[in-house]
Amino acid sequence: MTSVEIREIILDILEGIAPDDDLSNLNDEQPFREQLELDSMDFLDIVMELRKRYRIQIPEEDYPQLASMQSTVEYLEPRMKDLQKV
């Protein structure tokens, strides 16, 4: 899976978690929580959705890597490179 595809997946997950937010102007370098109404439970939804969709297990100590779109894609790229987008 490419970094572009991973970004699309994260966007899709965010649309489900934050359906009232406009994601069209999301700044990839800026932390999600500075741009969206996300709390810790929402953040866990990102982790859970990745687990459910792609069986990716993200250890708790790695959660800070998912702070922004850019850091999330960078973190996931090596872990998802052999997966197909579903």
Partner: protein
């Protein structure tokens, strides 16, 4: 005796918000009851398949964001809708109400079954690996959830909790609200009941296994308390929340008063898990009448609990026949025949559906009584269209539940 309390201890209803399968406001609901409009329809739920239910159509995005609906529970959304509508109807200047002086008391028959079933269904797709169990499960299933969602939505910082009281819960929520007002625990009580029960297959399956789930080719005919051909309960969702205040406070702000809670009672059968006990039910009604300071013959309308089961309806009729044997003018009706059994919301919905009778003088009938069961032959049972009454002053509302919990609320015209 409640009826002789000072104004600072008298409790009145100043706002009503509701969603029922045949109406999303008191006005719509009342119209439905007077027009004989059923809210029961075909329904399908996992594992059980095709069945019938009372389904609500309120706009859950009227007072919640999509994210809040997703995060919370159906019972929470029902509660929020009803609470907001009740506050609107009460005319309270909400921005200037002290949120610490508001209490939320919500009756529930059950809570958490829907969310638990959903999670088990979800992890079935992951070979029941609990790593896939949602972190939302606990906040969704804690017993205070529906009341808590109301407090979160409205910024209420006074007490909030639910009252687990089986199908007596709607009355019990009101009673709790009244008691907390009298104790000075709050100045405004949001009290009533909610139900999300049509979203749990377990309740349908359990009633079916018990031989108590209604079936009928015409959904609108399925809920038929007191009729010889009744064959069980139609499960419904719904909610009804009342704004309760002391008479003193309500009169000071000159607001409309829907009625005064002048009598109530709760007791227990202590005899069986599911079978009712007419003797205890009669005792419960008598206790409420005594507290209201009225004789049975002063009751204008008795809103029955009857659910359409073979035994329950007869037991309640035995209790009522005994208490009201010298009350030829008392009329009896049943609201489940329109909307099914709204479980935790039933008591409050059925009471509030009758309250407009103080103004229009009409007792809505029981639907679907094509052939009255001789064992349900209450002399004052209204079945053929709305009955015009001279003047309605007292309405008695029965609400009973499993494990033998009985509750009665009496509301007086003000």
């Amino acid at each position: 005796m409640i009826a002789s309390l000072p104004n600072s201890q008298r409790v009145v209803i100043t706002g009503i918000g509701l969603t029922s399968p045949n109406g999303n406001s008191l006005c719509e609901f009342r119209e439905g009851l007077l027009e004989g409009r059923s809210g029961v329809r075909d329904y399908e739920i996992r594992y059980v398949g095709k069945t019938l239910a009372g389904v609500c159509t309120f706009d859950d995005l009227k007072y919640q964001k999509r994210k809040e609906v997703r995060r919370g529970t159906r019972a929470g959304s029902v509660g929020i809708y009803c609470a907001r509508e009740a506050i609107e109807a009460s005319g309270l200047d909400w921005a200037n109400v002290d949120p610490a002086q508001v209490g939320v008391y919500v009756g529930v028959t059950e809570h958490g079954n829907v969310e638990t079933e959903n999670e088990i269904y979800e992890i079935k797709g992951y070979d029941y690996d609990t790593k896939y169990w949602s972190h939302h499960h606990n906040p969704r299933t804690v017993a205070n959830n529906p009341a808590g969602e109301i407090s979160l939505n409205l910024g209420i910082t006074g007490p909030h909790y639910t009252l687990g009281a089986a199908c007596a819960a709607g009355n019990v929520g009101l009673i709790q609200g009244a008691q907390m007002l009298r104790l000075g625990e709050c100045e405004v009580a949001l009290a009533g009941g909610v139900s999300e029960s049509i979203h749990t297959f377990g309740i349908f399956a359990s009633f079916r296994s018990q031989g108590a789930l209604a079936e009928h080719q015409d959904p609108t005919k399925a809920s038929r308390p007191f009729d010889r051909a009744r064959n069980g309960i139609v499960v419904a969702e719904g909610g009804c929340i009342c704004v309760l205040e002391t008479y003193e406070r309500a009169a000071a702000r000159g607001t409309k008063i829907y009625g005064e809670l002048v009598g109530y009672s709760i007791n227990s059968d202590a005899t069986d898990f599911v079978l009712p006990n007419p003797q205890r039910q009669a005792e419960c009604v008598r206790l409420a009448l005594r507290r209201a300071g009225i004789a049975p013959e002063q009751a204008d309308i008795v809103s029955t609990h009857a659910t359409g089961t073979s035994s329950g309806d007869i037991q309640e009729c035995q209790a009522l026949a005994e208490v009201f044997q010298g009350s030829p003018r008392t009329r009896f009706n049943n609201t489940k025949s329109y909307i099914g059994h709204a479980m935790g919301a039933a008591g409050t919905l059925e009471l509030c559906g009758n309250l407009p009778a103080f103004e229009d003088g009409l007792c809505h009938p029981t639907l679907n009584v094509d052939e009255l069961d001789p064992e349900c032959q209450l002399p004052g049972l209204v079945t053929d269209g709305p009955r015009a009454l001279d003047k309605v002053t007292y309405i008695v509302n029965n609400s009973f539940g499993m494990l033998g919990i009985n509750s009665v609320v009496i509301v007086k015209r003000v």
